[in-house]
Amino acid sequence: AQSVAQPEDQVNVAEGNPLTVKCTYSVSGNPYLFWYVQYPNRGLQFLLKYITGDNLVKGSYGFEAEFNKSQTSFHLKKPSALVSDSALYFCAVRALLTGNQFYFGTGTSLTVIP
């Protein structure tokens, strides 16, 4: 079965500290991996994606993520958190071998404490 897991419902980090939001996946074949962010009362916005090539992907707002095939992970990171990064983060995966579905995780609520 294809799935995405975000093991932490809530992550708290102090402003200026590095942040990590975890994501692991299970798909058949090569995965395409995505991170989206949902700010309060707003729609989901694309952050970054991994399709192929360099395992370290850089995206919007200073975020980056590293594809680790052996650990089937795609953790989202940022070197220095901002209060404005507080939001709900979703990891998603798709593999062409498994049809048209994107599989989304249950989301991780990130709170950056001033």
């Binding site: 062409l96 048209n100 994107f102 995780g105």
Partner: protein, 115 residues
């Protein structure tokens, strides 16, 4: 430019009534997705449209749910005989590009409450 729009933004209905939710994708986007987001849950895939191809309906939870996309643009998600468990936020997303690799652009959602 204009993003994905959805209407209504909120819908309250009584159990057993039918509802229609509308999605206007970004012009030129060939793919359109419907998802359901319930409290504490991830996004649940419902249906996928790509160009003129037959839609992928594999995510629809029951035959009370249906969707159509007219002229390759606007899409309507219909829920017949609504149940309380249908209460959720219904999200629409559109995209273009290589299938599976494309970035999805999401609308603000329709929050449905079934009393």
């Amino acid at each position: 430019g204009a993003g994905v729009s959805q209407s209504p933004s909120n819908k309250v209905t009584e159990k057993g009534k039918d509802v229609e939710l509308r999605c206007d994708p970004i012009s030129g986007h060939t793919a359109l997705y419907w998802y359901r987001q319930s409290l504490g849950q991830g996004l649940e895939f419902l249906i996928y449209f790509q160009g003129n191809s037959a839609p992928d309906k594999s995510g629809l939870p029951s035959d009370r749910f249906s969707a159509e996309r007219t002229g390759g643009s606007v899409s309507t998600l219909t829920i017949q005989r609504t149940q309380q468990e249908d209460s959720a936020v219904y999200l629409c997303a559109s995209s273009w590009g290589l299938a599976g690799q494309e970035t999805q652009y999401f609308g603000p959602g329709t929050r449905l409450l079934v009393l």
